[in-house]
Symmetry: C2
Subunit: 169 residues, 2 copies
Amino acid sequence: MSNQTIPLDAETKAIEMPDDHRDELRLWLRLLTCSTLIEGEVRRRLRDRFDVTLPRFDLMAQLDKVPGGMTLSDLSKRMMVSNGNLTSLVDRLVASGHIERRVSATDRRAQIIKLTPAGRTEFRTMAAEHEAWIAEIFGGLTQKEHKDLMRLLAKTKLSARNAIMGVAP
Amino acid sequence: MSNQTIPLDAETKAIEMPDDHRDELRLWLRLLTCSTLIEGEVRRRLRDRFDVTLPRFDLMAQLDKVPGGMTLSDLSKRMMVSNGNLTSLVDRLVASGHIERRVSATDRRAQIIKLTPAGRTEFRTMAAEHEAWIAEIFGGLTQKEHKDLMRLLAKTKLSARNAIMGVAP
DNA sequence: CACAATTATTTTAAGCATAAAATAATTGCA
DNA sequence: TGCAATTATTTTATGCTTAAAATAATTGTG
Protein backbone atom coordinates (compact mmCIF):
# COMPACT_ATOMS: atom_id res chain seq x y z
CA MET A 1 0.00 0.00 0.00
CA SER A 2 2.65 2.48 1.00
CA ASN A 3 4.71 1.59 -2.07
CA GLN A 4 1.77 2.80 -4.14
CA THR A 5 0.91 5.98 -2.28
CA ILE A 6 4.35 7.47 -2.73
CA PRO A 7 4.41 7.57 -6.54
CA LEU A 8 0.74 8.55 -6.56
CA ASP A 9 1.39 11.58 -4.40
CA ALA A 10 4.31 12.59 -6.52
CA GLU A 11 2.21 12.35 -9.65
CA THR A 12 -0.67 14.24 -8.11
CA LYS A 13 1.75 16.98 -7.17
CA ALA A 14 3.15 17.07 -10.67
CA ILE A 15 -0.30 17.47 -12.17
CA GLU A 16 -1.76 19.97 -9.75
CA MET A 17 1.35 22.04 -9.28
CA PRO A 18 3.73 21.65 -12.22
CA ASP A 19 6.05 24.05 -10.44
CA ASP A 20 4.37 25.31 -7.39
CA HIS A 21 5.58 28.69 -6.33
CA ARG A 22 2.31 29.98 -5.03
CA ASP A 23 3.47 29.95 -1.41
CA GLU A 24 6.40 32.20 -2.18
CA LEU A 25 4.08 34.47 -4.11
CA ARG A 26 1.78 34.67 -1.11
CA LEU A 27 4.71 35.49 1.13
CA TRP A 28 5.82 38.25 -1.23
CA LEU A 29 2.32 39.70 -1.46
CA ARG A 30 2.02 39.72 2.32
CA LEU A 31 5.36 41.48 2.68
CA LEU A 32 4.33 44.00 0.06
CA THR A 33 0.96 44.56 1.70
CA CYS A 34 2.57 45.31 5.06
CA SER A 35 5.04 47.66 3.53
CA THR A 36 2.47 49.48 1.41
CA LEU A 37 0.03 49.75 4.28
CA ILE A 38 2.55 51.30 6.62
CA GLU A 39 4.13 53.54 4.02
CA GLY A 40 0.73 54.85 3.00
CA GLU A 41 -0.15 55.67 6.58
CA VAL A 42 3.15 57.44 7.12
CA ARG A 43 2.60 59.51 3.99
CA ARG A 44 -0.92 60.39 5.10
CA ARG A 45 0.18 61.49 8.56
CA LEU A 46 3.12 63.50 7.25
CA ARG A 47 0.76 65.28 4.92
CA ASP A 48 -2.00 65.85 7.48
CA ARG A 49 0.22 66.83 10.38
CA PHE A 50 3.03 68.69 8.64
CA ASP A 51 2.00 69.19 5.03
CA VAL A 52 5.15 67.43 3.86
CA THR A 53 5.68 64.56 1.46
CA LEU A 54 7.70 61.43 2.21
CA PRO A 55 10.43 62.23 -0.33
CA ARG A 56 10.94 65.64 1.29
CA PHE A 57 11.02 64.06 4.72
CA ASP A 58 13.53 61.45 3.57
CA LEU A 59 15.74 64.08 2.02
CA MET A 60 15.75 66.13 5.22
CA ALA A 61 16.47 62.96 7.23
CA GLN A 62 19.64 62.41 5.21
CA LEU A 63 20.74 66.01 5.61
CA ASP A 64 20.07 65.93 9.35
CA LYS A 65 22.68 63.19 9.71
CA VAL A 66 25.44 65.34 8.23
CA PRO A 67 25.49 68.84 9.71
CA GLY A 68 27.90 70.18 7.13
CA GLY A 69 25.67 69.14 4.29
CA MET A 70 26.61 67.21 1.18
CA THR A 71 26.55 67.37 -2.60
CA LEU A 72 23.63 66.32 -4.74
CA SER A 73 25.57 63.29 -5.95
CA ASP A 74 26.25 62.10 -2.41
CA LEU A 75 22.62 62.59 -1.56
CA SER A 76 21.46 60.72 -4.62
CA LYS A 77 23.67 57.76 -3.67
CA ARG A 78 22.44 57.77 -0.08
CA MET A 79 18.80 58.06 -1.04
CA MET A 80 19.18 55.63 -3.92
CA VAL A 81 17.28 57.83 -6.31
CA SER A 82 18.38 59.26 -9.62
CA ASN A 83 20.30 62.49 -9.83
CA GLY A 84 17.71 64.16 -11.99
CA ASN A 85 15.08 63.35 -9.42
CA LEU A 86 16.81 65.45 -6.81
CA THR A 87 17.04 68.61 -8.89
CA SER A 88 13.39 69.51 -8.56
CA LEU A 89 13.03 68.10 -5.05
CA VAL A 90 15.89 70.27 -3.87
CA ASP A 91 14.45 73.27 -5.71
CA ARG A 92 11.19 72.94 -3.82
CA LEU A 93 12.87 72.51 -0.44
CA VAL A 94 15.01 75.57 -1.08
CA ALA A 95 11.90 77.51 -2.08
CA SER A 96 10.15 76.52 1.16
CA GLY A 97 13.17 77.54 3.21
CA HIS A 98 13.98 74.10 4.60
CA ILE A 99 17.37 73.72 2.95
CA GLU A 100 19.98 75.92 1.34
CA ARG A 101 22.42 75.32 -1.49
CA ARG A 102 25.77 76.88 -2.16
CA VAL A 103 28.32 76.17 -4.82
CA SER A 104 31.25 74.15 -3.55
CA ALA A 105 34.34 76.23 -2.87
CA THR A 106 36.59 73.61 -4.44
CA ASP A 107 34.49 72.39 -7.38
CA ARG A 108 32.31 74.79 -9.27
CA ARG A 109 30.26 71.94 -10.76
CA ALA A 110 29.10 70.77 -7.36
CA GLN A 111 26.66 72.20 -4.86
CA ILE A 112 26.58 71.61 -1.15
CA ILE A 113 23.09 71.48 0.30
CA LYS A 114 22.26 71.55 3.97
CA LEU A 115 19.35 72.11 6.31
CA THR A 116 18.62 75.68 7.33
CA PRO A 117 18.22 76.19 11.10
CA ALA A 118 14.46 76.43 10.60
CA GLY A 119 14.52 73.31 8.43
CA ARG A 120 16.44 71.39 11.06
CA THR A 121 14.07 72.42 13.84
CA GLU A 122 11.05 71.46 11.81
CA PHE A 123 12.58 68.18 10.74
CA ARG A 124 13.40 67.17 14.32
CA THR A 125 9.82 67.80 15.37
CA MET A 126 8.53 65.70 12.51
CA ALA A 127 11.08 62.94 13.12
CA ALA A 128 10.10 62.58 16.76
CA GLU A 129 6.44 62.14 15.87
CA HIS A 130 7.31 59.85 13.01
CA GLU A 131 9.21 57.57 15.38
CA ALA A 132 6.24 57.42 17.70
CA TRP A 133 3.93 56.50 14.79
CA ILE A 134 6.16 53.61 13.82
CA ALA A 135 6.32 52.39 17.41
CA GLU A 136 2.55 52.52 17.55
CA ILE A 137 2.19 50.64 14.26
CA PHE A 138 4.48 47.82 15.40
CA GLY A 139 3.12 47.93 18.94
CA GLY A 140 1.14 44.71 18.53
CA LEU A 141 4.27 42.57 18.33
CA THR A 142 5.93 41.10 21.41
CA GLN A 143 9.64 41.67 21.94
CA LYS A 144 10.35 38.15 20.76
CA GLU A 145 8.28 38.56 17.64
CA HIS A 146 10.03 41.82 16.97
CA LYS A 147 13.40 40.12 17.30
CA ASP A 148 12.37 37.15 15.13
CA LEU A 149 10.96 39.39 12.43
CA MET A 150 14.16 41.42 12.43
CA ARG A 151 16.19 38.25 11.90
CA LEU A 152 13.91 36.82 9.22
CA LEU A 153 13.93 40.06 7.28
CA ALA A 154 17.71 40.17 7.45
CA LYS A 155 17.77 36.69 5.97
CA THR A 156 15.20 37.67 3.34
CA LYS A 157 17.34 40.60 2.35
CA LEU A 158 20.37 38.36 1.93
CA SER A 159 18.38 35.84 -0.05
CA ALA A 160 17.05 38.56 -2.32
CA ARG A 161 20.48 40.07 -2.81
CA ASN A 162 21.88 36.70 -3.80
CA ALA A 163 19.10 36.17 -6.30
CA ILE A 164 19.61 39.65 -7.70
CA MET A 165 23.35 39.82 -7.96
CA GLY A 166 24.10 36.16 -8.46
CA VAL A 167 25.77 34.20 -5.68
CA ALA A 168 29.02 36.10 -6.11
CA PRO A 169 28.58 39.81 -5.39
CA MET B 1 22.56 47.32 46.97
CA SER B 2 19.81 46.01 44.77
CA ASN B 3 17.41 48.61 46.11
CA GLN B 4 19.73 51.25 44.66
CA THR B 5 20.44 49.71 41.25
CA ILE B 6 16.81 49.57 40.28
CA PRO B 7 16.03 53.30 40.45
CA LEU B 8 19.44 54.07 38.93
CA ASP B 9 18.73 51.97 35.87
CA ALA B 10 15.35 53.55 35.46
CA GLU B 11 16.87 56.98 35.57
CA THR B 12 19.65 56.10 33.17
CA LYS B 13 17.06 54.81 30.78
CA ALA B 14 15.04 57.98 31.09
CA ILE B 15 18.04 60.11 30.28
CA GLU B 16 19.49 58.09 27.44
CA MET B 17 16.21 57.19 25.81
CA PRO B 18 13.48 59.62 26.77
CA ASP B 19 11.17 57.55 24.60
CA ASP B 20 13.15 55.00 22.75
CA HIS B 21 11.54 53.89 19.55
CA ARG B 22 14.69 53.36 17.58
CA ASP B 23 14.27 49.58 17.50
CA GLU B 24 10.86 49.85 15.90
CA LEU B 25 12.28 52.33 13.43
CA ARG B 26 15.02 49.86 12.52
CA LEU B 27 12.45 47.13 12.05
CA TRP B 28 10.40 49.36 9.78
CA LEU B 29 13.43 50.36 7.74
CA ARG B 30 14.42 46.73 7.31
CA LEU B 31 10.93 45.78 6.19
CA LEU B 32 10.91 48.69 3.77
CA THR B 33 14.36 47.80 2.45
CA CYS B 34 13.29 44.22 1.70
CA SER B 35 10.15 45.34 0.00
CA THR B 36 11.85 48.04 -2.06
CA LEU B 37 14.69 45.73 -3.05
CA ILE B 38 12.38 43.01 -4.31
CA GLU B 39 9.94 45.36 -5.97
CA GLY B 40 12.76 47.11 -7.79
CA GLU B 41 14.09 43.81 -9.08
CA VAL B 42 10.65 42.74 -10.26
CA ARG B 43 10.18 46.03 -12.09
CA ARG B 44 13.58 45.69 -13.70
CA ARG B 45 12.94 42.14 -14.90
CA LEU B 46 9.47 42.94 -16.19
CA ARG B 47 10.94 45.79 -18.16
CA ASP B 48 13.94 43.87 -19.47
CA ARG B 49 12.14 40.63 -20.29
CA PHE B 50 8.73 41.88 -21.39
CA ASP B 51 8.96 45.64 -21.75
CA VAL B 52 6.09 46.07 -19.34
CA THR B 53 5.72 48.17 -16.21
CA LEU B 54 4.56 46.89 -12.82
CA PRO B 55 1.30 48.88 -12.86
CA ARG B 56 0.40 47.36 -16.24
CA PHE B 57 1.28 43.88 -15.00
CA ASP B 58 -0.80 44.40 -11.86
CA LEU B 59 -3.76 45.60 -13.87
CA MET B 60 -3.61 42.58 -16.15
CA ALA B 61 -3.27 40.30 -13.11
CA GLN B 62 -6.57 41.62 -11.78
CA LEU B 63 -8.30 41.20 -15.11
CA ASP B 64 -6.96 37.66 -15.52
CA LYS B 65 -8.84 36.64 -12.37
CA VAL B 66 -12.20 37.68 -13.79
CA PRO B 67 -12.70 36.40 -17.35
CA GLY B 68 -15.78 38.52 -17.96
CA GLY B 69 -13.94 41.69 -17.12
CA MET B 70 -14.99 44.45 -14.75
CA THR B 71 -15.68 48.16 -14.56
CA LEU B 72 -13.05 50.78 -13.90
CA SER B 73 -14.51 51.40 -10.46
CA ASP B 74 -14.25 47.74 -9.50
CA LEU B 75 -10.71 47.67 -10.76
CA SER B 76 -9.77 50.80 -8.87
CA LYS B 77 -11.11 49.27 -5.65
CA ARG B 78 -9.26 45.99 -6.22
CA MET B 79 -6.01 47.68 -7.11
CA MET B 80 -6.40 50.29 -4.40
CA VAL B 81 -5.47 53.13 -6.70
CA SER B 82 -7.43 56.23 -7.56
CA ASN B 83 -10.00 56.22 -10.32
CA GLY B 84 -8.27 58.95 -12.25
CA ASN B 85 -5.08 56.94 -12.23
CA LEU B 86 -6.70 54.14 -14.18
CA THR B 87 -7.96 56.29 -17.01
CA SER B 88 -4.57 56.74 -18.64
CA LEU B 89 -3.29 53.30 -17.66
CA VAL B 90 -6.28 51.68 -19.34
CA ASP B 91 -5.85 53.93 -22.38
CA ARG B 92 -2.30 52.70 -22.86
CA LEU B 93 -3.19 49.04 -22.44
CA VAL B 94 -6.00 49.42 -24.94
CA ALA B 95 -3.59 51.11 -27.34
CA SER B 96 -1.12 48.24 -27.01
CA GLY B 97 -3.85 45.68 -27.61
CA HIS B 98 -3.66 43.97 -24.22
CA ILE B 99 -7.15 44.90 -23.05
CA GLU B 100 -10.41 46.07 -24.55
CA ARG B 101 -13.16 48.31 -23.26
CA ARG B 102 -16.81 48.40 -24.07
CA VAL B 103 -19.60 50.44 -22.63
CA SER B 104 -21.76 48.50 -20.22
CA ALA B 105 -25.05 47.34 -21.73
CA THR B 106 -26.95 48.25 -18.60
CA ASP B 107 -25.23 51.45 -17.52
CA ARG B 108 -24.00 53.90 -20.09
CA ARG B 109 -21.73 55.61 -17.55
CA ALA B 110 -19.72 52.46 -16.97
CA GLN B 111 -17.19 50.61 -19.08
CA ILE B 112 -16.31 46.95 -18.85
CA ILE B 113 -12.66 46.25 -19.51
CA LYS B 114 -11.21 42.81 -20.08
CA LEU B 115 -8.08 41.13 -21.42
CA THR B 116 -7.94 40.46 -25.13
CA PRO B 117 -6.97 36.88 -26.05
CA ALA B 118 -3.49 38.11 -26.94
CA GLY B 119 -3.30 40.07 -23.70
CA ARG B 120 -4.29 37.02 -21.71
CA THR B 121 -1.71 34.82 -23.39
CA GLU B 122 1.02 37.35 -22.86
CA PHE B 123 0.04 37.92 -19.26
CA ARG B 124 0.11 34.20 -18.46
CA THR B 125 3.62 33.91 -19.86
CA MET B 126 4.76 36.85 -17.79
CA ALA B 127 3.00 35.60 -14.66
CA ALA B 128 4.68 32.21 -14.83
CA GLU B 129 8.12 33.78 -15.01
CA HIS B 130 7.23 36.27 -12.36
CA GLU B 131 6.30 33.47 -9.99
CA ALA B 132 9.63 31.78 -10.61
CA TRP B 133 11.51 35.03 -9.89
CA ILE B 134 9.77 35.38 -6.55
CA ALA B 135 10.52 31.76 -5.66
CA GLU B 136 14.16 32.40 -6.51
CA ILE B 137 14.28 35.58 -4.45
CA PHE B 138 12.85 33.87 -1.35
CA GLY B 139 14.80 30.68 -2.04
CA GLY B 140 17.29 31.30 0.75
CA LEU B 141 14.69 30.76 3.47
CA THR B 142 13.97 27.34 4.93
CA GLN B 143 10.39 26.09 5.03
CA LYS B 144 10.21 26.91 8.72
CA GLU B 145 11.53 30.41 8.21
CA HIS B 146 9.06 30.87 5.41
CA LYS B 147 6.21 29.79 7.68
CA ASP B 148 7.42 31.96 10.58
CA LEU B 149 7.80 35.01 8.38
CA MET B 150 4.31 34.47 6.99
CA ARG B 151 2.90 34.41 10.51
CA LEU B 152 4.88 37.42 11.74
CA LEU B 153 3.85 39.49 8.73
CA ALA B 154 0.22 38.56 9.32
CA LYS B 155 0.58 39.81 12.86
CA THR B 156 2.35 42.95 11.68
CA LYS B 157 -0.48 43.65 9.29
CA LEU B 158 -3.01 43.33 12.09
CA SER B 159 -0.96 45.53 14.37
CA ALA B 160 -0.66 48.16 11.66
CA ARG B 161 -4.36 48.03 10.85
CA ASN B 162 -5.22 48.53 14.51
CA ALA B 163 -2.91 51.50 14.75
CA ILE B 164 -4.37 52.96 11.58
CA MET B 165 -8.04 52.44 12.13
CA GLY B 166 -8.13 52.51 15.90
CA VAL B 167 -8.78 49.33 17.86
CA ALA B 168 -12.35 49.10 16.65
CA PRO B 169 -12.48 48.54 12.87
C1' DC C 1 49.76 72.70 -22.00
C1' DA C 2 46.00 70.57 -24.62
C1' DC C 3 42.41 67.77 -24.82
C1' DA C 4 40.04 63.36 -23.98
C1' DA C 5 37.74 61.26 -20.34
C1' DT C 6 35.30 61.75 -16.30
C1' DT C 7 32.23 63.85 -13.04
C1' DA C 8 28.30 66.97 -11.33
C1' DT C 9 24.22 68.66 -12.43
C1' DT C 10 20.18 69.94 -15.30
C1' DT C 11 16.91 69.16 -18.88
C1' DT C 12 13.67 66.41 -21.40
C1' DA C 13 10.26 62.99 -22.33
C1' DA C 14 7.44 59.61 -20.53
C1' DG C 15 4.86 57.27 -17.02
C1' DC C 16 2.65 56.75 -12.54
C1' DA C 17 0.08 58.68 -8.62
C1' DT C 18 -3.09 61.62 -6.09
C1' DA C 19 -6.85 64.97 -4.88
C1' DA C 20 -10.24 67.80 -6.40
C1' DA C 21 -13.23 69.62 -9.87
C1' DA C 22 -15.98 68.67 -13.89
C1' DT C 23 -19.05 65.86 -16.78
C1' DA C 24 -22.47 62.59 -17.67
C1' DA C 25 -25.73 58.99 -16.57
C1' DT C 26 -28.64 56.64 -13.22
C1' DT C 27 -31.46 56.17 -9.10
C1' DG C 28 -34.53 57.32 -5.40
C1' DC C 29 -38.22 59.62 -3.82
C1' DA C 30 -41.57 63.40 -3.03
C1' DT D 1 -42.91 62.80 -13.37
C1' DG D 2 -39.29 65.78 -11.97
C1' DC D 3 -35.35 66.75 -9.76
C1' DA D 4 -31.88 66.07 -6.04
C1' DA D 5 -28.53 62.82 -4.76
C1' DT D 6 -25.54 59.37 -6.10
C1' DT D 7 -22.39 56.95 -9.07
C1' DA D 8 -18.91 56.30 -13.03
C1' DT D 9 -15.56 58.29 -15.34
C1' DT D 10 -12.52 62.01 -17.07
C1' DT D 11 -9.93 66.15 -16.59
C1' DT D 12 -6.76 69.19 -14.30
C1' DA D 13 -3.01 70.54 -11.48
C1' DT D 14 0.76 68.98 -9.02
C1' DG D 15 4.44 66.06 -7.65
C1' DC D 16 7.57 62.00 -7.79
C1' DT D 17 10.33 58.93 -10.61
C1' DT D 18 13.32 57.26 -14.19
C1' DA D 19 16.43 56.99 -18.32
C1' DA D 20 18.82 59.35 -21.56
C1' DA D 21 20.63 63.46 -23.58
C1' DA D 22 22.72 67.90 -22.79
C1' DT D 23 25.70 71.22 -20.35
C1' DA D 24 29.48 72.57 -17.73
C1' DA D 25 33.58 71.99 -14.94
C1' DT D 26 37.51 69.19 -13.49
C1' DT D 27 41.12 65.72 -13.94
C1' DG D 28 44.51 62.81 -15.94
C1' DT D 29 47.76 62.04 -19.36
C1' DG D 30 50.53 62.32 -23.51
